[in-house]
């Protein structure tokens, strides 16, 4: 049985997924990326291997992806995160034709073909308003941590308008709403609504086609995925539980399986020719 690992070194978190040749996830792990990318990639992989009950020698192939992939010196190959995301989304939902990935620092939308190859893509402009950082800043202004956003949202009744134009200016908007007695949950939902509008703009720009698959750390907030789903009249897929955050690493691991298979076929061909 061949076992592969996908390592997604993202700007906020580093994720590792280990899969077998049936595409089954044996273990997954994530850690904050920080500044020592190689160390965190190594530590996250080791922890994931341990979780899977394996040894380092059991891993037959490693594919690195994400913005920090070039720092992973022990990888076999690296792929762009768009390639890995498309592969992961397509494996989980074969009818995926558009992928929306909302992470801590970026928002990316891509169209993919029936073979899960990227055919076009677009990223958010370099502005924190279009990313998870916007939500985190909004939460922090109100004294909440990132992991408290989900529970906070579950108590909201009605979103208040947040301009969403600029994360820097959002602070004054938040303070204004708080001074008017608006519940923090409703302000948070307003920020989500603003972010969702940016998601929809991005999907329009790439002329997204169904089915949509939503991935990335920010999609772990159910309100976000639900709001997008409510505003489009096409099938929207969201990977279950925390898998939504691991799709890119999963896609890299699946690509690893594909590469191993191809290498084995090439070796068999050479052996038969020799």
């Amino acid at each position: 049985m061949s076992i592969t690992a996908g390592i997604d070194v993202g700007s906020t978190y580093t994720k590792v997924v280990i899969v077998n040749d049936q595409g089954e996830i044996l273990a997954r792990e994530l850690r904050p990326t920080g500044f020592k990318l190689l160390q965190v990639a190594t530590a996250t992989l080791e922890s994931c291997i341990k979780k899977a009950g394996l040894n380092r020698e059991d891993i037959n192939y490693i594919i690195a992806t994400g913005i920090g992939r070039h720092q992973v010196t022990f990888k076999d190959v690296h792929v762009t995160d768009l390639t890995a995301s498309a592969r992961g989304a397509g494996y989980l939902f074969p009818n995926t034709r558009s992928v929306l990935d909302v992470g801590g620092q970026t928002m990316k939308a891509s169209r993919v073909d029936e073979n899960s190859k990227v055919s076009s893509f677009r990223m958010n402009d370099k502005c924190a308003a279009g990313t998870g950082a916007f939500l985190e800043k909004t939460a922090r202004y109100m004294g909440f941590e990132t992991e408290e956003i989900g529970p906070l949202l579950s108590t909201s009744r009605e979103p208040v308008p947040i301009s969403g134009v600029c994360a820097v200016f959002a602070e004054s908007e938040v303070i204004n709403h708080l001074s008017l007695g608006t519940p923090p949950a409703d302000i948070m939902l307003g920020a989500i609504t603003s972010l969702v509008e940016r998601c929809l703009q991005l999907l329009r720009r790439i002329k997204a086609e169904p089915e949509f698959t939503l991935i990335g750390g920010i999609l772990r907030f159910e309100a976000m995925a639900k709001s997008i789903g409510d505003q489009v009249d096409v099938k929207v897929n969201v990977p279950a539980d925390d898998i939504v955050q691991f799709v890119t690493a999963f896609g890299a691991a699946i690509l690893g399986q594909r590469r191993l298979k191809k290498l084995a076929e090439e070796q068999a061909l050479e052996a038969s020719a020799g």
């Binding site: 768009l82 990227v118 055919s119 893509f121 502005c127 997204a208 489009v232």
Partner: protein, 99 residues
């Protein structure tokens, strides 16, 4: 929901080295005048590694790429996020290759 009008094919972008396999020359060789027109389509603003990543991806998609420093453009939007960045923020433009 949204109609498609510009299909491009791309192969998986697999690299083996530890250095970014990015055509950084693409960012420098492009003219900085007339951002739009002649088939150029404005994409998004970006800097540093993400810029390299985006250029790499668009090249894999078979598109011609040019970049324009954001400060040189008539930018209506807020630039607070990147006014003091070490890396210059560029606006990316793409168009289908004419060959």
């Amino acid at each position: 929901m949204f109609s498609a009008d510009d299909e491009h094919s791309a192969s998986d972008s697999i690299g083996k080295g530890n250095k970014p396999d990015v055509p950084t020359s693409a960012a420098k060789s492009c003219p900085t005048d007339t951002p739009e027109g002649e088939g150029w389509k404005q994409q998004f603003s970006c800097s540093g590694d993400r810029l390299k990543e985006a250029l790499e991806t668009y090249c894999f998609l078979g598109l011609e790429v040019k970049t324009v420093p954001l400060k040189e453009m008539n930018c209506d939007g807020c630039t607070l996020c990147f006014d003091n960045e070490a890396d210059e923020t560029m606006m990316i433009f793409t168009r289908a290759k004419s060959d």
